[in-house]
């Protein structure tokens, strides 16, 4: 193992890691915002409300992220309407394409987590809120969503870690995040084992920090105490 090379290129890898973090942060936050209406609609009692989020989730969970990324980055350019639109400067940029794809992808998974959480809220709590005269909307906002947030948080932290690893795919659309940076450096140094090893350490470090952060958040929200029925 050639440690000098690793140390020499560490700053560049750290630069890649910041881009990785940026991608993941935007995707999981925007994905969560998008997933809330999706998840609520997905757990609706009416089939016509459920149908659209169901097919959305089915498509995004049933196909590889790589295919979705290529569909957005390469595929959209096939249509003249997209190329002539005012959004084209953004859809031409690999950064925004990756952010868009990752957001849509993770939103489908988070919506499914939210549906599971909403459906596992004890019935009595919802009935109690309704019996106290809360409207449906109020019940949703003050009782069901805060409860679902606590039930779904552990699964959400899993999803964040999965997105961290999925962000490595951005290197296939020329983005220089952690994996992309590692591949560029390897093209220059011909030392794949050392550089990939260092990149792997970065991923391990980031996921370790994320896991610890979510543990703190879970303690702060008292998730354990809320799981007991």
């Amino acid at each position: 193992m050639n440690w000098e090379v690793i140390i020499k290129w560490l700053p560049r890898l750290a630069q890649g890691a910041t881009l990785t973090l940026e991608l993941v942060a935007i995707a999981v936050v925007a994905g969560l915002i998008l997933a809330i209406p999706l998840g609520i609609a997905r757990s609706s009692r009416h089939w016509y409300v459920r149908a659209l989020p169901f097919s959305y989730i089915f498509f995004f969970r049933g196909t590889p992220l790589l295919v979705q990324l290529f569909l957005v980055y390469y595929g959209l350019a096939q249509f003249d309407a997209v190329r002539n639109s005012s959004l084209w400067p953004y859809l031409r940029d690999p950064f925004w394409c990756t952010v868009l794809t990752m957001t849509l992808h993770t939103a489908a998974y988070i919506a499914e987590i939210l549906r599971g959480a909403l459906q596992s809220i004890p019935k009595g709590e919802v009935e109690a809120a309704r019996a106290l005269g809360m409207s449906r909307g109020k019940t949703l906002f003050y009782i069901m969503l805060p409860r679902a947030a606590r039930i779904g948080l552990p699964a959400y932290s899993n999803e964040v870690i999965l997105m961290l690893k999925a962000s490595a795919l951005a290197s296939t659309v020329t983005l220089l995040e952690l994996t992309g940076m590692a591949r560029t450096i390897i093209a220059r140094t011909y030392l794949p084992v050392e550089i990939f090893f260092a990149a792997g350490l970065f991923y391990l470090l980031i996921s370790f920090v994320l896991v610890q952060g979510f543990k703190l958040l879970e303690r702060w929200l008292r998730v354990d105490a809320c799981q007991g029925r």
Binding site: F58, F59, G62, T63, P64, L65, L66, V67, Q68, F70, L71, Y74, G75, L76, A77, Q78, F79, L164, K165, A166, S167, A168, L169, S171, T172, T179, A182, R183, I186, P192, V193, F196, F197, A199, G200, Y203, L204, S207, F208
Partner: protein, 231 residues
């Protein structure tokens, strides 16, 4: 709207076959690794526990794509020296072998946790009953633990297989001619990226649906004799 594949249909079909082959081979390797990992993690020997824990933590903390790249590009030097030692110059890992190893490694790390959970879910009394009857350790494992574990682990393994199937797309990055690779070739020839990637997406969707149906029947078969709890 009709979809014109410009004669790339058979190539995509061949790619689908390759994807399925890759997924099944990786599944086989992953199941073996997962079982070994779970046995190591639940064994009373401390170093084995550490080894199992190290394997599942390390592999799960690093992206699948990085494993694919590392195993394909990282083993070139090693394979070269191995080839020289064995007097077989030019020995190298094919993209298929690298894909199977990388995906099997990742599947195995997650399967370790699934199997471990399933092993822990088997009541202690069953193992003790086996010991009391004078069965050897290997016999207890093969006749009591494994058959019962299978049923508990199946739903988790099904999810992992679904993830594995989608991860096969990553192996196109190192040039294996599976669905994505053939779609890319089609795109460079016809300049119709949306059509080809959409067709690829639909093939993956179809594979996922087939796998889901298969899992449903396997779970049903494994759960025969167990009344489902009425909720």
């Amino acid at each position: 709207m009709t979809i014109d594949l410009h004669g790339f249909g058979p190539a995509l079909a061949a790619g689908t076959l390759m994807t399925v082959k890759l997924a099944l081979c990786a599944l086989l390797l992953g199941l073996i690794l997962g079982l070994l990992g779970a046995l190591a993690k639940t064994s009373p020997v401390k170093p084995l526990q550490w080894l199992g824990g190290f394997y599942s933590t390390l592999v799960r903390g690093v992206p699948e794509l990085l494993w694919v790249l590392l195993i394909y590009f990282g083993t070139v030097g090693m394979m070269n020296s191995l080839g020289e030692a064995l007097n077989m110059p030019g020995l190298e890992l094919s993209a298929f072998a690298a894909g199977v190893i990388a995906l099997g490694l990742c599947f195995g790390a997650y399967a370790t946790e699934v199997f471990r959970g399933a092993i822990l879910a088997i009541p202690k009394g069953h193992r003790e009953a086996g010991l009391a009857l004078g069965l050897s350790k290997a016999r207890i494992l093969s006749r009591i633990i494994l058959p019962q574990m299978w049923r508990i682990a199946l739903p988790g393994l099904g999810n992992l297989f679904m993830i594995l199937m989608k991860d096969t797309a990553l192996v196109s990055v190192i040039g294996l001619e599976e669905i994505m690779r053939h779609a890319q070739i089609g795109v460079t020839m016809t300049k119709e990226p949306f059509t080809f990637y959409m067709v690829a997406a639909c093939i993956y969707l179809g594979l996922t649906v087939i796998a889901m149906t298969g899992m449903h029947f396997m779970e049903k078969r494994a759960a025969r004799g167990f009344a489902r709890a009425e909720s």
